[in-house]
Amino acid sequence: MQPAQLSASSACLECGLNFEAAVLSPPVRPAPRQLQHSQGQVRCARHARNAAVASCERCGAFMCGLCRIDADGKSICAACFERLRAAGELESASTRFRSFRTLGLHLGILGIPLMAGGILLGPASIIATVRGMRQDSKEGTAGETFSAVLALILGTVSTVGGIVVCLAFAGALGKK
């Protein structure tokens, strides 16, 4: 095992900030060797000199090792990968998401000072938090329990507070 080069403490030459660093040596991957096309073999649709190793499961085009992309259990060509990624149909290639747990926490916090609106903000906070917890469970995320529990508590408190405020208001109107 090659040990990382460790520095006890170094100072940046630009700003003078002290820091510790572990310098590693990532392995260099050689360029993939492609089978040259020979008589009788099927050519790659994009690289005529390369032999095809598979066909795209979406469009059927023959592809060499350079073109072949394995994603979500399918072998597809680069063009189909780009189309599916743009359409959001490739789960492994999706990079954008919505943070429901954060939304739930903020709605819960907002529902405390705006107790009159808690009857709406509270349930919205709980729904968003539960959705966020399902999202975390699906992604296999650990270590986010505290914020989810806090959001549920705040959502519950603002819901109860909102109901109390509404009942008090209705009671006051009834007396009039």
């Binding site: 002290n18 572990a22 310098v23 590693l24 990532p26 060797r33």
Partner: protein
């Protein structure tokens, strides 16, 4: 079993970053508002992991000035008639002073992972021990991943050489 574990976070004015350790990579969620973008720093492509302590001059100036404002309001209202104003100002002045002193004395520890194409930064304001443990964990995991990648590449290279040198099979 969790697929990824939260390592640390970093918050700015308009966006938050959450850094997770997944199996073979570090996943970074950049959240702006309620929309986020996810990117990965592969462990076998990590070049450097650093640990440093920073103190923000802008933060110290802003919090220091606010502390002085509330402190002067305490001094100016320090009388029997102004006790409520003093209490109100003290409720803000004392925490701000504590926050200023804490940041000036201890700073915020940052752990940064530099990969081939992207990097991940985590900030640890209170738990300095966790910053060091995270630094060492990332260093060790990156080293392990890179050793495994080197072994795998060596095995693949040997197989490729054997395939080239193998005599052609008889028809």
């Amino acid at each position: 079993m969790a697929r990824r574990t939260l390592l640390g976070t970093k918050a700015g004015f308009s966006e938050r970053t959450r850094v997770y350790l997944a199996g073979d990579a570090i996943e970074v969620d950049d959240i702006e508002g309620y929309s986020g973008t996810r990117r990965r720093v592969l462990l076998d492509e990590v070049r450097v992991v650093t640990l440093d302590r920073r103190r923000s001059a802008a933060f110290l100036w802003i919090v220091g000035l606010l502390t002085l404002v509330f402190f002067f309001s305490i001094v100016l209202n320090f009388s029997e008639e102004g006790r409520f104003a003093v209490i109100f100002a003290a409720l803000f002045c004392v925490p701000l002073l504590a926050w200023f002193a804490f940041h000036a004395a201890l700073g915020i520890d940052h752990v940064t992972v530099f990969g081939k194409r992207s990097n991940a930064v985590m900030a640890f304001a209170l738990n300095k021990g966790k910053a060091r443990r995270t630094f060492m964990l990332l260093r060790d995991r990156a080293m392990l991943a890179q050793d495994e990648a080197r072994a795998r590449l060596a095995a693949e290279a040997e197989q490729a050489v054997e395939a080239v040198e193998a005599p052609p099979s008889a028809p």
